[in-house]
C-alpha cells in the first residue's frame, strides 16, 4: 500500500531490535482472548482510480451548485468562493499541521487565526473572539452555558423560537442533562421575537435571539437588549448568515454580551452541512469564560513579535473537569479560511456582496409575489424570507427538481402552524435569469 513505507527488510530489522520474530509479537500485552480472530468485514480495497469513479458516481446524484439552483438557506448558504481561497488553504503547511502547541514553528496558523479573531470582532462589533468553535448551534449552546455560569442563582435561559430549530435542539441537548430550563420566546406577527412573556423576569440568566432569524427577518435588537437589561440577563445574539453583517448594524453595537454565529458563508464550502465555522465572540469582560482556544500576541527571546495560544488555563487539558468547556480540536482551518475571505473581500467588497444578497432576495421576493405567493412576515430581511405558497405549488416544486431547481424549503415541519409556508433564499450566486426562471416555473 502506497501509504505504508515499510519494506520486508525494514520490518525485519525493526523487529530484531525488540527481539521479536513477527509483527504479532508486538501485541503480546494484549491477552490472546481479546484478539480479533477474523479479518474485518470491509469492502475490498479500491485503487485510487476505482475510488475516483466510485466517489464521482455518488457525487453525481447530489443536487449541487452551480448545476442546480438551490434556493434554500436555512443555515447553509451558497456563496461564491474566490479561487485563491481553496488554493491557499490547501497549502499543506496549513492543512497538515495540528493545533499550534509549538508556536515557534506554527506562526503561520497563529498569525492567521489572530487576524481572523480581529476581523471577526470588527465584523460583529465585539471585543474578543475565540479561535473557533464547531458551528453556530454548539457555539450558541456554550454561550448560554456561560450565562448560566455567570448568573449563579439562575438556571433558566430564554431562547427565541426564531432561533434555528436545529440550534434549539442542540441547546436542549446541551442544557437538558445538567438540569437547566429553556424558555421558548414566541414570535410576533411581523416575524420578530416576542419578548413580552419574560418581561421583567429576574430569574433568567440569558436571552438569545438570532438575527437575521430563521424566518430571515432582522430582529429588533434594541428591544431585545432592553428586555435583557430589565431582566438583568445576558444578551446573546446568534446568526447563521455572517454576510448579513456586511450590511446590518453589528450585534455588538446593540450591546450584545456574547455573539455566537455560523461562519460558513465566509468562503467555506457548504459540504452537505459541515464542517462549518462556529464563531464565538463577546465583550472583554467575558474573555475568561469563553470556551476553546485564543491566539494572543507574544514576544520571543529577542523581543520579536509573535503569536501563541494563550489563556489556556481555562481549557480542558489544564483544568480538566473544571474547564470552561470540553472543546479541544476546533474548526481552525475554517477560521483561517474565513479570515482569508474577509481580507479578500475587504471593507468595500464585503459591503457590496452583502448588498447584492439583499438585492437578489428582494428581487426574488417581488417576483414570487407576482407569481401568486404572499408575504408571511413584514419585517425587513437580509437574503431569505418566508412566503405562503399558492395552491399547486408542491407539485410544481417536485417537477422543478427534475429541472435542477429547488424551490425553497417547507417550514411546516418546524412550525406546524405555518402550513404552506416556505423559506426562500437568494444570494449573489443567482442571476436575474435564475430568479426569473424560478418565478416563471412556479406561477
Amino acid at each position: 500500500m502506497r501509504y505504508l513505507p515499510h519494506t520486508e527488510q525494514d520490518i525485519k530489522e525493526m523487529l530484531d531490535k525488540m527481539g521479536h520474530s513477527s509483527l504479532d509479537d508486538l501485541f503480546e500485552t494484549i491477552p490472546e482472548k481479546f484478539r480479533v480472530k477474523q479479518e474485518m468485514c470491509l469492502p475490498a480495497p479500491l485503487t485510487e482510480w476505482a475510488l475516483n469513479s466510485h466517489m464521482e458516481s455518488m457525487a453525481k446524484t447530489m443536487a449541487a451548485a452551480p448545476e442546480q439552483k438551490i434556493f434554500i438557506g436555512a443555515g447553509s448558504y451558497p456563496h461564491h468562493i474566490p479561487s485563491i481561497i481553496p488554493y491557499l488553504v490547501s497549502r499543506s503547511e496549513f492543512c497538515t499541521a495540528y493545533t499550534p502547541y509549538q508556536p515557534e514553528i506554527s506562526q503561520g496558523t497563529l498569525q492567521g487565526i489572530y487576524e481572523f479573531q480581529t476581523m471577526i470582532t470588527e465584523l460583529l462589533g465585539t471585543e474578543v473572539a475565540t479561535a473557533s468553535h464547531y458551528d453556530c448551534g454548539t457555539a450558541l449552546s456554550e454561550a448560554l452555558l456561560i450565562a448560566l455560569k455567570k448568573k449563579k442563582n439562575s438556571n433558566i435561559v430564554a431562547v427565541s423560537s426564531l432561533v434555528h430549530p436545529h440550534h434549539r435542539q442542540i441547546i436542549n441537548t446541551y442544557l437538558g442533562p445538567a438540569g437547566y430550563e429553556v424558555i421558548s420566546l414566541p414570535y410576533n406577527p411581523d416575524g420578530t421575537t416576542d419578548m413580552s412573556s419574560i418581561k421583567g423576569r429576574e430569574d433568567i440568566a440569558g436571552i438569545a435571539v438570532q438575527s437575521p432569524n430563521f424566518f430571515g427577518c432582522i430582529e429588533n435588537l434594541e428591544d431585545v437588549k432592553a428586555g435583557a437589561d430589565t431582566s438583568n440577563a445576558m444578551f446573546i445574539v446568534s446568526f447563521t448568515e455572517a454576510l448579513a453583517y456586511g450590511l446590518l448594524k453589528s450585534p455588538g453595537s446593540f450591546g450584545a454580551d456574547i455573539v455566537a454565529g455560523e461562519g460558513q458563508s465566509l468562503g467555506i464550502a457548504q459540504s452537505f452541512g459541515g464542517p462549518g465555522l462556529g464563531i464565538l465572540t463577546s465583550t472583554k469582560a467575558l474573555m475568561r469564560n469563553l470556551p476553546g482556544r485564543f491566539v494572543g500576541r507574544a514576544k520571543d527571546k529577542s523581543g520579536k513579535d509573535g503569536f501563541v495560544l494563550t489563556l489556556s488555563t481555562r481549557e480542558q487539558h489544564i483544568r480538566r473537569e473544571k474547564a470552561s468547556s470540553n472543546i479541544c480540536s476546533n474548526n481552525g482551518l475554517n477560521a483561517l479560511t474565513a479570515g482569508m475571505y474577509l481580507a479578500a473581500a475587504g471593507k468595500k467588497g464585503l459591503r457590496e456582496i452583502a448588498a447584492l444578497n439583499h438585492d437578489k432576495a428582494v428581487y426574488l421576493k417581488n417576483k414570487l409575489k407576482s407569481s401568486g405567493f404572499t408575504t408571511a412576515f413584514k419585517r425587513p430581511f437580509f437574503n431569505e424570507f418566508v412566503m405562503k405558497v399558492p395552491e399547486g405549488f408542491k407539485i410544481k416544486r417536485e417537477a422543478l427538481k427534475k429541472k435542477g431547481i429547488i424551490a425553497g424549503m417547507d417550514i411546516e415541519p418546524y412550525y406546524p402552524s405555518l402550513k404552506d409556508h416556505y423559506l426562500f433564499c437568494a444570494t449573489e450566486i443567482f442571476s436575474r435569469q435564475d430568479i426569473e426562471n424560478l418565478a416563471l416555473e412556479v406561477k
Partner: protein
Amino acid sequence: MENQTATSGLIFNEPLIWEKSREGRCAVSLPDQDVPRSPLDPALTGNSPELPQLSELDIIRHYTRLSQWNFGVDSGMYPLGSCTMKYNPKTNEVQAARPGFKNAHPLADEDVSQGALMLMYNLEQYLAEISGMAATTLQPAAGAHGELAGMLVIHAYHEKKGQKRSKIIIPDTAHGTNPASATLCGYSSVNISSGPKGILTPEAVAKVMDEDTAGIMITNPNTLGLFEENIREISDIVHAKGGLVYGDGANMNAIMGIVKPGEIGIDIIHFNLHKTFSTPHGGGGPGSGPISVVKELEPFLPVPRIEKHGDTYTLVHEKPDSFGRLLTFYGHFGIMLRAYAYILSMGAEGLTDVSRLAVLNANYIKESLRDDLYLAYDRPCMHECVFTDKYQTEHGITTLDMAKRIMDYGFHPPTIYFPLVVHGAIMIEPTETESKETIDHFIDAFKAVAKEAGENPEILKSAPHRSKVSRLDEVSAARKPVLRG
C-alpha cells in the same frame, strides 16, 4: 551528529494583514449587479466593517508567506503523541472537492441527496465493524464532542431506566477532554489512579464503582501507550453495578483489526477521524468524532438517523429515546468523506497493517531511545511511547528544552507534559506512515539532543534557533492577553 534534516533558508516577514491595507483595494471579483439595488432601511444598516483592503496578489503573498512559517506533516515527521499525525492522502482532498459534495445543501430534498446519505450510511457501518459495535452516529464534530455524545447516551440510558446517576469514573491518565465532557453533561468526575504498570487495576475501579456512578471512561490503549489488559474485568465490575463503559478511541490507530472494543466490554467508543482515518488536522481542526455503540444503546443516539430501505436512504428525525441533536446538520461531512475514502483505499487488511506498523514504529523508537531518555513504563507499548526528562534534569534541562531543540533538527516535537501523571512526559507517536529511515534520523536527532543536554545545555535552553521566531514567552502573553489587533 550531522544534521541531516534541518537547515536554514530565506523566508519572508509579513506584517499583520491590515497593515497592508490601502483604501480602495479589493481582492474579490464582485458579481454583476443585474437586479435593481434595494437599499435596506437605514435604521438597520450599519457602517461597512473596517476590514483591510488588499489586491489579490497581496492576499496570495500574505498567506503564502504565513504558510512558510508553519510545520506540517508534509514538511516532516510530526510525532505528536495522542494526535496520530499520519500522512493525509491527497486523493482524499480530491474526493472532498467534487462539486456534488462540496456544493451540496444539507437541507436539499432527500431524493437529490442520496449519494451523501449513502456515504454516511456506509461509513457508519464500517466504523461499527472496525470497533465491533452495532451502530454509529457521525454527528459529533470532534473527539471531545464524541465524548459528550457518549456521556449523553449514558445519561439517556440511565434516565430511560428511571435512574439518575451523578458520577463518572476517570483514570488519571485520561485526556483532559474526558472529565470536561463528563462535567458538561452534569456528571462529577471520580478520579482514579492507574496501577504501577501504568494501567488500571480492577481493584481501583471496584473501590469506587457504585450505583450512583453512571460509568467509566477508559482510553485503550491508554495515553501512556499501554494496553489496558484488565479491561474485561473492569467492565464486568462497572456493568455489574449498572454502569456503562465509555471508550476513548483516540488511540484506535494501534488496534484496528487487532482488537474490537465492542468485544472486550466497551459499550461506547468515539473515533477521531482526523487521527486514525487520515483526515488533515487543519492546524487545529475541523475534525470529526463519530461514536459507535452496542446494540442496546442504539436507541439513544442523536437524530437524525440514516436508514436504508431498499436502495433508498432516508433521514429519520424522530426517535423516542434519542438524546437529541449535537450539531446543526449531520456532522462534519467534508471530513467523513475523506475518512470514507481512506477506509475504501485501505481495506481490512490494510487497516490492520496500519496498526501493526504503527505499533512497530513506536516500539522501535522506545527500544532505540531507552538509554538516552528515561522510560516512564518499561513495557511493550502500543502506537506511542512515553519518556521523561528524568536523566536530563540534573543538567537543568527540561522536557520543554528538548522539545524546542528537536525543532532545530527538523522534527516537530512530541507531545509534552501529557499525560499529566508522568512528570515531564515526552510522548512520541510516530504513526505508521513514517519510514524506518526517517525514524532513524529522528532517533539520531533525539540522541544528539540528549547528549547536548549534558555537554551544552545552553544550546537547549535557548532553542529553537532556526525557526522564524525564537522561544516565545507564553507566560507574559497570558498575563496581559492581546487577542486582537
